[in-house]
């Protein structure tokens, strides 16, 4: 091989990797949406470093569950909705879709809350901002280019690097933080459990499971891309949770240490003061806004895709209103209903964001159980069935969440706070 041929081969490999990259990174960035930011901020502000161990565990779980989604997608070349339909029948896929719909509606509500909260920092009324945002999202999805807007917001959401920088500036005790990563700590109070489940639910989401699978199918990837994809989702999980880590230690150091609790987005913005000073408010609002909009674009689309695929309705952006009525109606309702919910007077926007992630967390086991059944089915997966270690980690995650949910229900019923 000549030198030219050698370097071309190398370039070819890099291009190959880059051409395949995308899904994991996008899903990862979208994890840091309105629900994510508020949850991570509260985890740090209200409990300091005490929940970091949960973050470590769910990073592993996230990587594993995303990888399973990728593997099923590459082998079956169908979205999760289609696979559930073909293997479990209509009634079960209806259940899965209902679950996903509720969880997604909650998350979209969180996104619009995020938009409202971001502008609320500057005193702009939500009655102005939310309808406008909802309208813009609908118009672009219905008429315009989804791809370009997605790219814009992806770039904006790179803002979260700010938290990483901030994380170093405030000179937190990294030793203490690292120790906390490996120190389990649990309080049997409603507040702690609610926050903990929200933490899980905002990182591993039902929609994320559907999204990663559809995305690898849409991109036309095949099983030969498995290694590259696996690397990418692992990388994606790592990156997103690094950002989460820094958000938590930022709020832990700046707010928790001084006993400041978060009741609205402005409080959370304070965590950026060491970096940006007065500018902190603006920076935070900007980031929250763009992260919320990214979510507001992706979620309705992901919802409509999954539901239409499961029930055999026409879908995709190359359909028109005439042919893709149901597809566009789902998108419309997924935008309108959450927007209306956010406009209810006197709702606590932060609370909405946390509760929605709780819903994600509680409903997640249902979707994960479907995934587990499929990925262990030899008829479907052939030689790519799960290895025991994958099963162990996944089942531990599922059991962990169900246990936490049950305990939460019990403690809140017993009135403990």
């Amino acid at each position: 091989m000549t030198l030219k041929e050698k370097t071309r081969g190398y370039k070819h490999k890099i291009l190959f990797f880059l051409s395949v990259i995308g899904p994991g990174i996008i899903a990862a960035n979208a994890d840091n949406d309105a629900g994510g930011i508020s949850t991570y901020s509260i985890v740090g502000a209200h409990y300091g470093l005490k929940m970091l161990w949960v973050l470590l565990l769910i990073t592993v779980s996230l990587a594993i569950t995303q990888e399973m989604g990728v593997r099923i997608g590459l082998v079956t070349r169908q979205g999760l909705g289609g696979v559930i339909r073909e293997n479990f029948g209509l009634k079960w896929v209806a259940l899965a879709m209902l679950t996903m719909l509720i969880a997604n509606m909650g998350t979209i509500t969180a996104e619009f809350s995020g938009v409202a909260a971001a502008f609320g920092i500057f005193g702009v009324s939500k009655y102005l901002v939310v309808p406008l945002a909802a309208f813009v999202v609908w118009m672009i999805l219905f008429k315009g280019s989804f791809k370009t807007s997605q790219r814009i917001f992806l770039i904006f959401s790179a803002f979260y690097i700010v938290y990483i920088i901030n994380g170093f500036i405030i000179k937190p005790d990294f030793a203490e933080a690292t120790r906390a990563l490996f120190t389990p700590h649990i309080e049997w109070t409603t507040g702690f459990l609610v926050t903990m489940i929200a933490l899980i639910g905002t990182t591993i989401t039902p929609w994320g499971q559907f999204f990663i699978q559809s995305y690898v199918v849409d991109k036309g990837l095949a099983i030969k891309h498995y290694k590259a994809e696996k690397t990418e989702v692992f990388l994606g999980a790592f990156i997103t949770d690094i950002v989460s880590f820094f958000i938590i230690i930022s709020t832990a150091t700046v707010l928790y240490k001084h006993g400041i609790r978060i009741t609205d987005a402005g409080d959370a913005a304070l965590a950026l003061k060491p970096l940006a000073g007065e500018f902190a408010q603006f920076l935070f609002a900007f980031g929250l806004f763009s992260a919320s909009m990214l979510g507001a674009f992706i979620l309705p689309v992901a919802t409509a895709y999954a539901i239409c695929e499961a029930f055999g309705w026409e879908y995709g952006f190359n359909t028109t209103w005439k042919t893709g009525k149901i597809f566009y109606t789902i998108i419309l309702v997924s935008i309108a209903l959450p927007a209306i919910l956010v406009l209810i007077p006197k709702v606590n926007l932060i609370k909405i964001m946390i509760v929605s992630q709780d819903i994600n967390g509680i409903l997640l086991p249902i979707i994960l159980i479907f995934v587990m059944k499929i990925i262990n089915n030899k008829d479907v997966m052939g030689e790519h069935v799960n290895k025991p270690i994958g099963n162990i980690i996944a089942w531990l995650t599922i059991i962990g969440i169900i246990a936490a949910t049950l305990i939460l229900v019990v403690t809140s019923m017993m009135g403990l706070n």
């Binding site: 079956t76 070349r77 289609g82 029948g89 036309g220 095949a222 055999g312 026409e314």
Partner: protein
């Protein structure tokens, strides 16, 4: 109307009122005399042993929504033999994707419809409507859903895909579809299904469909083909299409395919590979009729007839001199309405140099010339004015609107 979903999970009760088990599936068998397959029996899960057992259709007394009754006691019933290519309706067809041949789209089976005639239960077709979904979910009785319209596809108007494809042959209807429609269908199906479907088609159809597929699907479609099969298909694909495909795959695979082409084709392909996609050279075709200026109309027509089976489209013939310099064109219309003894040089339309392009011309320039001079095809010349290829207006359109 009788639907499969009405009977799944329904108890099978014999004449002694003993419940043998719950219905799991209906077995259908195709016959050459009948347009529709008929039900030969029912599979159920034995209540005690949990094994799958079956009863023939003749032993059924009554098919009811709450129970299926048998004519005699369960002990007296002989199970029937299920053959290799019998269809298990719930397992192979229900909830799976099929191709609607009338609408040329891919849909999902929500329910299967039966019809009773001379004591045989026939599979009439499938329900793909939302109403079918409602019925499956058990909400069929609610009045408001009667607003939803039913939507059926008859058995002979659908093509099963997926694992079940091995059980049915590709229907004649499917092959009759326009290659572009067939390509659309393949693009909508999930890739493993489309791969299986493609394998059941003959190479010439595959070659035609291949040309209509979107770029990303071209690569995908051969996943399941052996090298030999690919070569056979490729031999039916025109050079310019072949080159477009070869440009998108990696060097190793490309060289493998090129090695197995005929020498002449190989040479052309290698030449074409040098031209970038967005130039005249990249979209031109070498499939055109080239005639010497001295030949007669009669001879030209004969050549056209000979070549009309091989070439995708012939609208003009291209006239060159002894040295292969491009001189002009004769449209088929002119050819047909001229005297057979006339020389083509006499009736041809001279094409001036500025109405031709070189291989490195941009698409923009090609489009401009074709629009300005109302040309359906544009000659591509080498620097020495020899005729290299022809850009057809449909290839130009494909370049401008690749995702149509």
């Amino acid at each position: 109307m009788l639907f499969l979903s009405q009977f799944i999970k329904v108890p099978i009760v014999d004449s002694a009122d003993i419940t043998a088990g719950n219905c799991v599936d209906f077995i259908a068998r195709r016959s050459t005399e009948d347009k529709y397959p008929h039900i030969i029996g029912i599979v159920y899960k034995d209540r005690r042993t949990k094994e799958l057992k079956n009863v023939s259709f003749d032993s059924i007394e009554n098919l009811g929504g709450d129970e299926i009754t048998l004519k005699t006691v369960i002990k007296k019933i002989q199970p029937f033999v299920i053959l290799e290519n019998d269809l298990w309706l719930a397992q192979h067809i229900l909830d799976k994707q099929i191709v609607d041949l009338d609408g040329t789209r891919v849909v999902r089976v929500n329910d299967i419809r039966f019809g009773l005639s001379d004591n045989k239960l026939h599979v009439l077709g499938v329900d793909i409507s939302t109403r079918g979904i409602i019925r499956r979910l058990g909400l069929g009785k609610l009045r408001i859903f009667s607003l939803l319209k039913p939507a059926f596809i008859e058995w002979d108007k659908m093509q099963i895909v997926g694992k079940s494809l091995k059980l049915t042959n590709v229907t004649q209807e499917l092959v009759k579809l326009h290659p572009a429609d067939l390509a659309n269908v393949l693009e909508t199906l999930n890739p493993s299904h489309s791969g299986e479907l493609v394998q059941s088609l003959d190479p010439i159809t595959v070659a035609k469909v291949f040309q209509e597929l979107k770029p990303e699907f071209k690569r995908d479609i051969f996943r399941r083909f052996t090298q030999k099969q690919i070569e056979v298909v490729m031999s039916h694909v025109p050079v310019d299409e072949l080159v477009d495909y070869l440009k998108t795959i990696n060097r190793k695979d490309r060289d493998k395919i090129i090695d197995h082409l005929s020498t002449a084709k190989k040479k052309e392909v290698e030449e074409f590979l040098h031209y970038p996609d967005d130039t005249a050279g990249g979209i031109m075709s070498t499939e055109f009729v080239r005639e010497n200026v001295e030949i007669t109309v009669a001879e030209a027509l004969q050549n056209v007839r000979k070549l009309s089976h091989t070439y995708r489209s012939i609208n003009y013939i291209y006239i060159v001199d002894k040295k292969d310099h491009f001189l002009g064109v004769v449209s088929l219309r002119t050819l047909i309405s001229s005297k057979p003894t006339d020389k083509v040089g006499k009736i041809m339309k001279r094409i001036k140099a500025h109405q031709t392009v070189h291989p490195d011309a941009t698409i923009q320039h090609v489009a401009t010339l074709m629009t300005r001079y109302n040309l359906l095809s544009l000659a591509v010349l080498e620097k020495d004015s020899t005729l290299l290829g022809v850009v057809m207006v449909d290839d130009l359109m494909r370049q401008l609107l690749p995702h149509a």
